[in-house]
Symmetry: C3
Subunit: 259 residues, 3 copies
């Protein structure tokens, strides 16, 4: 949510996201940065501890970073640092703050160097498709073909760093189908969640990133059969099942919502 709209905090909380991000960057025009910084305390108070609050500051090299950082309330849980694309910024961050950082990988350089960039104090990252394509000089399309490789590379880099990756925003506010399709694709690619820009998107994300009832039922049946066979390779519902497939089934049950 834009940091200058603290009255939106109640709606954000009601949507039950895993965390709330107060944006000082792209959502706030230059003339509004000071006002948005001044509103951070009220916005954090509006969330009221219901979930962690992160503040998206302007990029480290933007000239706005120091003032942004000084304005971050003491009860903020962390920073989101956009357009993160130089390892020198890791040192700048470590010197400037002890807060955990979610890094925005959203430039061509950021994607190309993601493996080196995702290191402490970075504890998570997101892929920013709109900024990435603007930097690339490309065109955003509904089919997302222009971000397919970059989006996969960011998820791979996050896995190598052992941190969660969050999928790109869907700027179409009312296109639930697009949001859910992208969320499903993102989960398949290894993303742990998806950035939301509207409360209605949060429940779509929460649904998409948890195993479906059908997946849970499949995993339960499969593991029963695999245990019966004492771990020997079996044919199960037309598929060969060995330890690898069983491991995937166990992973589904591990994160499945309690029924």
């Amino acid at each position: 949510m834009p940091a200058d709209r603290p009255e939106l905090a109640a709606k954000a909380v009601a949507a039950q996201p895993d965390l709330v991000i107060l944006d000082l960057e792209d959502a706030i025009p230059l003339a509004g940065k000071a006002g948005a910084r001044a509103a951070l305390e009220t916005a954090v108070a509006g969330v009221g501890g219901a979930m962690p609050v992160f503040v998206r500051v302007n990029p480290v090299s933007s000239g706005l970073f120091a003032d942004d950082l000084a304005a971050v309330p003491g009860d903020a849980a962390g920073l989101v640092v956009p357009k993160f694309d130089a390892t020198s910024q890791l040192e700048s961050l470590s010197r400037a703050t002890s807060l955990p950082v979610i890094a925005g990988i959203e430039t061509v350089r950021g994607v190309a160097d993601a493996r080196d960039l995702l290191a402490p104090p970075v504890v998570g990252c997101y892929f920013g498709a709109e900024d990435y394509v603007a930097d690339l000089g490309g065109v955003r399309t509904d089919a997302n073909g222009e971000v397919a490789v970059a989006r996969a590379l960011v998820a791979m880099a996050a896995r190598l760093a052992g941190i969660p990756a969050l999928d790109m925003v869907t700027i179409d506010l009312h296109d639930d189908h697009r949001f859910s399709t992208e969320a499903h694709d993102a989960r398949a690619l290894g993303y742990a969640g998806k950035l939301c820009i509207h409360p209605r998107q949060v429940s779509l994300a929460n649904t998409a990133f948890l195993p479906s009832d059908a997946e849970v039922a499949w995993a339960t049946r499969l593991l029963a059969a695999f245990d019966d066979a004492r771990g020997a390779t079996i044919a199960f519902e037309g598929q060969m099942v060995d330890e690898v497939v069983a491991a995937r089934a166990r992973a589904i049950l591990r994160v499945a919502p309690a029924s």
Copy 2:
């Protein structure tokens, strides 16, 4: 155009490409190389300064390179160097010529090392799908799936080098739909243009790589609304618009053809 067919220069010029490339490489069989070199002056004269003329020489390591280079007319604007895939070739080129170079990235090694290869005197590059797939030992298909990753990586490397990338040729001479679809995809991926092998393809490329009327109209409406909101995040025609999306709209108007 094949360098041994200088009579085609008039047709090439009439099609109004951004530049003309006279090919000494794959278009010319070994027995014809000497004749094609001898025809370069006539071909350049045929273009008559209407647009820059580049000469595609044979690869640096081909054994034909020195003779090709010696034959390049003084009024050629630059070289196209195919199968460019070793950084040592950068030094060879710098020693051998002061002409700007468009590098052909069209081997697996070239794609994998593109980030290091795209350095001065290279001022542009193209992705060569036919050669790439031949080197890969794969199969060219209509769907282009076999080149999807390589094609994206080349555009990313060009962006990191700050130079334009040109998309692969479409060897289907009469399949305008394929050419235009590929050109649109290429523009989305960040390509600045597309190699043409027939005059009829040039206008298709010129159309595809400029914003459409619909894009220009969208960008104009969007920026009016965004300016009205003084840069605050707005909902515009169902999409969230912030500084990033506005920047994309400005980029469209910057390159739009004058109406």
Copy 3:
């Protein structure tokens, strides 16, 4: 085939694969490893020299590797080493065995570092989609979108190493369409073959990785026309044909089955 099922060797041989792999890893539960090792000799004898036999051992770092290696029969042709993802394992292998190795690239680290990993004694590799996606924390889907980038990168790395790459298994035992579609896609991407987990898949693979009759006929016609033109660029059946396209046609005839 699971190494503890030597009675399956006759079926495997009858399917006429290029080689047989006896699996000690995912197909065999921990309690069965010793029994499967003891059955290796019988299984190799069952193949009876009809084609080379490789033994898939457990990963180098699994704690099972040494015992697996000690059990490999003297007439085994080589090892398959799964979850291969550290260059230190190259030295471990060189010290431990003089057998050629097919490396399983099936972790995120393995894919990211494939170019360094594919070195002697590795003489081939396979891409393991099930393990890769499990390691990635993603979801396996019918459309294979979640493995598209990794699968392409492995084929590229294999080409740079000058070794053949084998495509992922298809665990759907009765879905011939999926198997064949994947095999065709894999061939386009530069894969030389595909792992099979059921005898019925072998003939599908053998068909998919050889040029079709239509490809052979096209290549024959094209080369006749190109030779008539003495290597000059020609328009052939609506396509521009130059040396690159002719080289692809020659490659098709080189591997085509004798008619």
